[in-house]
Symmetry: D2
Subunit: 310 residues, 4 copies
């Protein structure tokens, strides 16, 4: 049960959010402070241009700014795992190439979306991306966005043949996640991350190599403690830290349903918390998403205070 990191990709790898100024531009200074905040918090890697980065909303040039800014602060301290977020195979390859040039150590790639695809095409898709790009490829299972669940047997086959280096699981399907952990246990240097904030202790208990928590932007040190407890086999401590973080996570339920979209609510809560903590200057969101308002911010303040984060 003790977690032996099998590669340099393991541990706490938060998906870095993208601060914007009130005028809508990327706020580079805030992004630099946030990156430093995460590194100071003891994270083991940085997931750049993930969903938490609002990557769907960033233009091509904004994506470049984000990667180079984070890369500049990081200066090689931890691995940069970068999302190559595009609809289909050839567009992913084009995007991935740009990201590698910008300094990505590994890429995170979803199945095709908007396209109406299937398992055979998804197999071809990952093989083509792997063949074209000279960095480790992590499969990103996020059916709430792609509307396609990556089949466990496909992931295991691609892992065993060296096509993918691991999986970032945001499927919300804990049964298939456990089966994947079990089935992939003997694949060398294959790393499986959960993308869910509040079940990390169970994921580590099942043998996961890492966690990519959006909430890790807010409390990287908390996730570092949780991971350390799990890695040392002290699951009572892990569960206790997890319960605390689950309460912190309740900030994502503060946005008023109907006023703020489901996509904007959680990310807006992370940004609002970071602003309250003084890490970033504004909780502005990418258009057309709207920022949390004063009453939502006040509710978040209460939660942060009762958890010792303010």
């Amino acid at each position: 049960m003790a977690i032996a990191p099998t590669s340099r990709f393991h541990g706490v790898i938060p998906p870095v959010v993208t601060p914007r100024s009130a005028d809508g531009a990327i706020d580079v200074a805030s992004l630099e402070r946030l990156t430093k905040h995460l590194l100071d918090g003891g994270v083991n890697g940085l997931f750049v241009l993930g969903s938490s980065a609002e990557v769907p909303y960033l233009t091509d040039s904004e994506r470049a700014v984000v990667v180079s800014t984070i890369g500049g602060v990081n200066a090689g301290q931890v691995p940069l795992i970068v999302g190559a977020n595009e609809q289909t195979t050839n567009r992913v390859i084009d995007e991935g190439r740009r990201m590698v040039e910008l300094g990505a150590d590994a890429l995170v790639v979803t199945s095709q979306y908007y396209a109406i695809s299937d398992a055979n095409e998804t197999d071809t898709h990952f093989r083509a991306v792997h063949a074209a790009l000279d960095v480790p490829i992590f499969a990103y299972d996020v059916p709430v966005r792609t509307h396609y669940k990556l089949p466990t047997d496909l992931l295991v086959r691609l892992g065993r043949e060296g096509v993918i280096a691991g999986v970032k699981d945001s499927s919300g399907d804990d049964v298939s996640f456990r089966q994947l952990l079990l089935a992939a246990r003997d694949i060398p240097d294959f790393d499986i991350f959960t993308g869910h904030e509040v079940v990390v202790d169970g994921a580590l208990l099942g043998g996961a190599q890492g966690v990519v928590p959006g909430l890790g932007n807010v409390d990287p040190a908390g996730y570092a403690r949780l991971y350390a407890a799990g890695a040392s086999g002290d699951f009572a401590a892990a569960a206790s830290e997890q319960d605390r973080l689950a309460d912190v996570f309740s900030i994502v339920y503060t946005p008023t349903p109907g006023r703020v979209s489901p996509g904007a609510g959680g990310l807006g809560a992370f940004k609002t918390a970071l602003r309250l903590m003084g890490v970033i200057d504004s909780n502005a969101m990418s258009a057309p998403m709207i920022a949390l308002n004063d009453s939502e911010t006040a509710a978040i303040r209460v939660i942060l205070e009762r958890n010792g984060l303010l």
Copy 2:
């Protein structure tokens, strides 16, 4: 983290499958042997007329036979939690009344289905059922069947007001499950069960009071060991037992997709395993479901053998 059972409803409470003879009738003798097998395995309760019992497929009279057969063998040794499976409020109340007369110690009730309902009606639904029936009511969250996810805040409110005595969670949503455990932690005598076979260690780590595993028909002693490990705080042992049970659970992937329906596949695998183990006489299924065939049975035998169950 140590699990303190808060009521007589806790621990391993398998959903008893319903053996049939090849001619389609309920096989009472096999059901009696199965009940004894479960009690001998050390279970803490019996969930009667659950999805694993093929309850949707049983006629009214068959349901009565099943409850009285199990009740007869059990003779009060462990609590009988019985499904009152019907479409809507008044029909659930009628069905629940029959089940209480047949000896149910508690009832398991889903939200309405086939009906197109919402949270307000679901609140009214559980209150009406509770008001009409004089036994504890467990809410059964099974969106794969009802196509409605029970909201966490609704469950907590109903629990806090004494309308429901607990939750059987088969939602497959481990994030909301953890939030429910956290939010309901201070409700006295409120018991939360996971219905998923392969994430029980994590559920116990999060504070769940019990587990209702279909696979518990096949290996009740394994789940009893898993629960005991979790209850004593030895999560390394729990995870190890869970991994073994996750491998046993792979019997549900042996049916040929397309030949056997998703509903029939898992239950058919449990029945086939029980037949191989000599607990029941036939793996016949309720019409129109079909039984697993010889090659599927052979695959199950391999899995049972490598896990020491044959």
Copy 3:
């Protein structure tokens, strides 16, 4: 294109709603008046115990009252097509037998629900129901409730082999509906009905034999005119009548979202309109559904008035 009714099941066959008194009991006198209102409106059949009848919410004894009340008023004037609404094959057969005893001329049967089934089992399901019951069986395609779309090729095969006598299509999938009409065109005595209120002209243009509109409770004569126009090939007149009825149908959008459930809203609007028209005495709904309130009623009054129904 001219529609030649191929059997006694054709034309306007409204799904009769179930009036209740404020105390929750079936309001038999109102149901009798409603049945007369429909027959006076020139309908060609009566669909009894459909979704519009709130059939999921009726207890067994209430279902019996509804069928015999309608049957009594109808006295054989038009065919009674009765829903045998249950979860699975054997339960449908039990229910269907009761309905035939109560006077059903034909039965309407969905695929299994709550059960997790597939095409093979659905084929077996309809064959078993047909074999057990000595009346024509109509397949009811209502995926919004069953969460399963009946495949066109299955319906055509069952029709060609005489297992089903037709289809009531509430699938909302106009493409598959047209393909079904085309594929089944040469099956003798096979009748296809649309369950949708506002696309009847197009359905008739495509060759549908009938329509089962919930809104037909409110304006049976309007649907009779629409059907007659289509049957005579005057599609300009059909479309004009359809547009008027589509405006009447906007009563279903008057309930406040969030206050009234999706299931209760449309049916509540029909009942409220019938109460305003003096056909029934109360717009009470089956528990746990709530009735439309005064402001919703006022909005319905406006729509009825501008369409000459008050």
Copy 4:
């Protein structure tokens, strides 16, 4: 009922498919022949870079080649309505600007996808796109790809305020389509197109201004006849032509399920038919989609022959 084209955007506007050579490159010569084939068939406009063009799979540079090739052959004969297919608002604006520079007369824009959005953001989205770009914007309702159904009231409001010039409806929801036609009837220069091949007669009967049928690549003259019949009020002739085209459309059911993805099957059938007809040179698909094989091609040949297209 007579359809009075209210603007230059009306009638048959097929979504032009994108021929590729066996080596995977855009086959410009075939695309030129196809464009001429469509213009010769009497179409009223060309929908460029739609789903049928495999737009999700085209790289940025390929998209430019397609638009300029079609534009070159068309030389202003009919309007070019071009898809600006991107995930989110600012990316759509960037893409739309490129398309306008390449000669688009109007743009087709979906709601955001991959992003998790809502009605408020969708409203902002269309307003921002309209404000940034100086051509008519058509809203494209394609929930099977975006997983979001554009609400009718939103479309009507955006139309009434001049934000959008019309709607391309591929929602498969004929009820909401009819309500949209009715609600938008009095908006000047607002054009509503159905994207469905087999219900065009009904759409015209309901008042639709045009049709964007993928099958129009194969039989543009058939759709021109269907539209002309509808425009002249001869709906018997329209239905008859529609039934013939529904049979031609059955080519999309020839690909073997499981072998060919749902996305590749229909488009592959159109391309295969065009190859059999000698309009394009290859039925190659964009990676990772695979082309139809010989037996699937043979089945398509039969359908084309019995409908007089070979």
